[in-house]
Amino acid sequence: MYGWIWRHLPGNAWVKAVISLVLVLAIVFVLFQWVFPWAEPLLPFNDVTVNGGGSAG
């Protein structure tokens, strides 16, 4: 998969490296900004209330 991406990036090795870095940063940003905040309430660390059934919170 990563080899395939590397082969399909344009430019020489340096350009490819820079594009890869930007891609990685973009993916980390998307994860921290949207994916993890969505996934986190599904994990058990949020249940601090006594609302029966462990509702959100």
């Binding site: 998969m1 990563y2 080899g3 980390v28 994860l31 921290f32 993890f36 996934a39 986190e40 309430p41 994990l43 058990p44 660390f45 949020n46 249940d47 601090v48 209330t49 006594v50 609302n51 029966g52 059934g53 462990g54 959100a56 919170g57």
Partner: protein
């Protein structure tokens, strides 16, 4: 043939590395980033509260519930922190617990939704107002989002929990070591706390109580830790901080 085997192995190992990096990033997010965000959000809520209190003259405090503020019913007004109804998702008080550290203070927001608890401690809707007759019940994260109740098990009888709504300082005293119970033990936040285990009932008669709740074990959700206290003293903010916070 060798090519497909090699390709499969490579794809599998890349998948493993990817999943590993994802899990690592999630751990960084939970341990570090939620704390950064929550501390930022809590600081913002605290300054918003202090700004609002600074703009509201203390002398106009404590009108009776029927009084109107600027012609609006007090229940909908924002002028007086003491009499206005708590608005969902809005901070209305700051809590200090010296046991958790001399500078430990967190905003208390109305509601115990996921979003409320990411910005501070959450006041259970339907429980008593701060300092009111009944049970003022508050939930907080033990882990993640700034770990506000990280040291919850350290609470001991006699520990002070001090709150202010910008008009009055309320000092509650913790009465029992934290009580371990199940998530559906909703009686612990009743006006007169009534846990499932009757022998753990903290108070014989109605009064002005405080209940704090968080999760146990720290990273789990199988149980809850509960701490009960009673209102010990109140004093107007004009008289300065209560002694509990000065020592």
């Amino acid at each position: 043939m060798t090519l497909t085997v090699r390709g499969t192995v490579r794809a599998l190992s890349e998948l493993c590395v990817t999943v590993g990096v994802l899990i690592l990033l999630l751990v960084v997010y939970l341990l570090y980033w939620t704390g950064v965000r929550a501390n930022h959000a809590m600081d913002r809520e605290v300054s918003a509260l202090q700004d609002r209190w600074a703009r509201t003259p203390v002398s106009s405090a404590r009108p009776s519930p029927a009084t109107t503020l600027n012609g609006r019913p007090a229940a909908h007004g924002t002028g007086s922190p003491a009499s206005a109804a708590y608005r969902e998702g809005q901070p209305f008080a700051i809590m200090y617990i010296p046991r958790f550290g001399a500078d430990w203070h967190k905003p208390v927001l109305q509601g115990t939704g996921t979003d409320d608890l990411q910005h501070g401690l959450g006041h259970y809707a339907g429980t008593a107002r701060l300092g009111g007759q009944g049970n003022f019940a508050v939930a907080g994260h033990r882990r993640t989002y700034g770990d506000p109740f990280e040291d919850f098990p350290e609470l001991r009888p006699g520990d002070k929990v001090v709150l202010t709504d910008g008009v009055t300082w309320y000092t509650y005293l913790i009465d029992k070591p934290p009580y371990l119970t199940l998530p559906d033990d909703t009686g612990v936040i009743d006006p007169l706390p009534a846990p499932l285990d009757r022998s753990a009932t903290p108070y014989p008669a109605p009064g002005r109580y405080l209940t704090l709740t968080t999760c146990d074990p720290p990273w789990g959700h199988s149980h809850r830790l509960i701490a009960w206290g009673h209102l010990d003293a109140t004093q107007p903010v004009a008289q300065g901080m209560p002694r509990a916070l000065l020592s």
